[in-house]
Symmetry: C2
Subunit: 197 residues, 2 copies
């Protein structure tokens, strides 16, 4: 199903109802995890029919990834402070530490589930990772256009590895969620110097 057809089908429900439904999906995810989450449970919790859920989202992986994407408060594409440092700091400031801790726990669970669910891995990559990469490239392109970053700087190709490194290493190895203070220090110490800023 194409994105346009899916959007048209989803448009039968109001944005308020859609937000309520995504909220219920994230609540269930936090309660039982991806593997134990069933479309039956989502249908019961949201007083929907399973047929409606399948018609509008296709399946569990798609519904969960759309709910995750919807939960992001701000939008990276709205950030444009005039400097790369300002843009990256604004990116970190979009979510306060409490929200970041919640999302970190959720993403950790999703990362585990991706290990043995190929459909989830594909949906997550297509709808979240690839979208973030596109947005990140636009941010970097503005920095190149302003003359802050050289167009041939080799670190440009590793932007996502650098960012995920800070976020995931903290979550996986240090067993604590990333904080705004940690990510801001990491950006200043690693990401900007690697980009020659």
């Amino acid at each position: 199903m194409t994105e346009a057809v899916a959007a048209a089908r989803r448009s039968r429900i109001t944005p308020e109802r859609e937000a309520e439904l995504y909220g219920a999906v994230l609540d269930l995810l936090r309660e039982v995890g991806y593997d134990a989450l069933t479309m039956d449970a989502v249908a019961a919790r949201t007083r929907s029919s399973k047929a409606t859920l399948y018609r509008q989202w296709g399946g569990k992986a798609d519904l969960v990834v759309k709910a995750l994407r919807h939960s992001k408060r701000g939008h990276i594409e709205e950030i444009d402070t005039g400097t790369l440092r300002g843009d990256l700091h604004a990116l970190v400031a979009m979510e306060d530490d409490c929200v970041m801790a919640q999302n970190s726990a959720l993403l950790r669970g999703i990362a585990m589930a991706m290990h043995h669910n190929e459909d989830l891995r594909e949906a997550f990559k297509e709808q979240i990772v690839d979208a973030e990469i596109v947005n990140g490239r636009q941010m970097l392109q503005r920095a190149v256009d302003r003359g802050e970053v050289r167009a041939d700087c080799p670190a440009i190709d590793f932007m996502v590895h650098m960012m995920v490194g800070g976020f995931a290493t903290r979550t996986l190895l240090e067993d604590q969620p990333p904080t705004q203070a940690f990510l801001t220090s990491y950006i200043d110490a690693v990401v900007l110097p690697a980009l020659g800023v």
Copy 2:
């Protein structure tokens, strides 16, 4: 059990027998994964008694982590090429792409299992991560002593985040193992510039 007591108890078996046992543990890990691996299966595969395994390793988490640590061919502490760039490239060259792909799949499975096994997470952190951090710090300290890296360079504190970022992002998001070529480019593009080299 202290490390010294454990070593004394392990010393009752020969190094060859120990290597054989660790090899069997890694084979089983690859076949069934951490959660389904049992001490019974290890005992059967290695013709040991479970009592011996428990007496010598304490439990599954400790046995698996020691087997992982033992599987590393070279030793980072033996690397000393005279430059930080040379040392980091030598680190990458310790494992060829085939071994790296095998270890990456194994580590991915272990990372997933760590999510819900606190004893595995603790054993992995204590015996692998912390040891790598100590070795990495020694490598960096030599670079500081040679005047390659400033002692107050803020990226020093993020060395493990940078390295794990390259390795894990590739494994988790790009669904392919890291290669020597990839990691060497990453070190040249991100790690060394961030450290001001």
